[in-house]
Symmetry: C2
Subunit: 297 residues, 2 copies
């Protein structure tokens, strides 16, 4: 595990440094918005960015995938800024300091989030990888971040009853699952959290020029990890005295013990997939192993 | 002028049709978000999209620039959705119907805007133009829409005093202008409205593979048009009984008559530039001529 932490720290440090340059060094006539953007991109574990970089390298990429690592971290940062707004989760604090909208005002919270989401795509365009791969990467990023991914998951998270009634009956493989509350929560987890981890691993594979089959497997591994990550987060919240509101979570829906089992299965599946397509040294597989031991052991 | 309206109507109809397919036909598991996105992309004159398409064609482009026309219109649409939020302009109505957040709730207003901004970039990636041009186009689009463009302008618009104190002293060509209220309003107009029209014309030129000099001129023409467009809008508001709040506008700052003169000069400059780089048939130049006669004649 020592080595895993060292690698994560190293990736985080390089992402932090590049992020500082990309945001604080961004040329614009309104320093206030840049300040709010910089504030909102500080901190964070940079897990998604680290998965982009390590997947890229593990699959033989030898160029610079950093613009996409920054882009996915900017998207993660903007989603937290908007999520903390009064009309959303209404959170005053984030990572131990005032949320963006508490420090800069609510309108600036909306605009700083918008500007970060936009900067994510501008930053991705600075990549010097082959343009067709950059386009494919931007497309995957937007797909994972938007209505079919993270934003769609946030809709389900915020308005469970309202949206559940209106989930597309034609889309899921198992339409019967739609009336099952646990299936609803699982879909919310897949979209809200799973999709961006899936996207991180997919991005690394796409940018490295991996064949479609590997891109899909990398995505599956990221999705399994992301969903387990969200389950663990909700288990932790539940064991620390319950969630603050009436939000639907998997532990609350199918019991803590069964949710634990699903997290274990997801991490094992992630490990297995990672071993298949990238070998034992690949960061995501080792991360899954670490979570299995430290959080579920 | 007959011909101009016919051309505009025709471009609008093709953009409307493609928009409907791109948004209502978007595959995602949460129909509610798609519904809010479709609602927010209906209506509108599609001027920015029409400028993308017509600039592209005028400069010899013979492929499909529609994905970028849709992208800029999605960005225009998202900016209105976020602008109408209670913490921003707090507008209940938009284009004669309830604003997105009044119909779908405030959280959905935030999320539908986020999803549209994200879909803009995903849609741009569907272009079948050469990938290096697509990347250059996406970069120009993000630059124009973000902190250095539209979003930056909205910060200045919403918090004039707060942000004016903090405008970057190093950036503008005329630092003395920073303490001049009219210069502040002009910067706000350039960023908030001018930049997206500039981007529309630049996009058409970039996608057509025009040389840098032409891309710059097209951008200048779009900027001149966009700023004049905003001045005319504020003049109209002022003559219809004044603006609803204490927002800084050019008519209020330098007088109605002087603002009129600036709008005339901007439209004339736009016409002149358009004639130089694209000839007399180019839509943007004819649009400027039309505004000169119909709104300022």
């Amino acid at each position: 595990m020592e080595d895993l932490f060292k690698e994560l720290d190293c990736l985080k440090a390089s992402i932090d440094e590049a992020m500082e340059a990309a945001v604080s060094g961004y040329r614009c006539d309104v320093p206030l918005i840049r300040e709010a953007m910089a504030y909102s991109t500080e901190g964070g574990k940079r897990l998604r960015g680290a998965i982009v970089l390590s997947t890229y390298k593990s699959l033989g990429g030898n160029g610079d995938a950093m613009p996409f690592a920054l882009a996915i971290e900017m998207i993660q940062a903007y989603s937290l800024v908007h999520d903390d707004l009064p009309c959303m989760d209404d959170a005053d604090m984030r990572r131990g300091r005032p949320a963006c909208h508490k420090k800069f005002g609510e309108a600036m919270g909306v605009l700083a989030g918008d500007a970060l989401l936009t900067l994510a795509f501008e930053t991705a365009c600075t990549s010097d990888l082959p343009p067709y791969r950059v386009v494919e990467g931007i497309r995957a990023l937007a797909y994972g971040a938007g209505a079919a991914g993270m934003v769609g998951g946030q809709v389900l998270d915020l308005q469970p009853e309202m949206s559940n009634d209106r989930i597309d009956e034609a889309t899921p493989a198992d339409p019967a699952g739609q009336s099952d509350p646990a299936e609803r929560v699982r879909l919310m987890y897949r979209l809200k959290t799973g999709r961006l981890f899936e996207t991180a691993a997919r991005l690394g594979a796409i940018l490295a020029g991996a064949p479609d089959k590997i891109v899909r497997r990398a995505g599956d591994a990221g999705m399994s990890f992301g969903v387990a990550f969200q389950i663990l987060d909700d288990i932790e919240d539940a064991s620390q005295g319950g969630t603050e509101d009436q939000k639907a979570t998997l532990p609350a829906t199918i019991s803590l013990e069964k949710a634990r089992e699903e997290a274990i299965m997801g991490l094992q599946r992630c490990q297995e997939l990672c071993r298949q397509f990238a070998g034992p040294d690949y960061l995501l597989g080792r991360l899954a192993a670490h979570y299995l031991v430290s959080k579920l052991g």
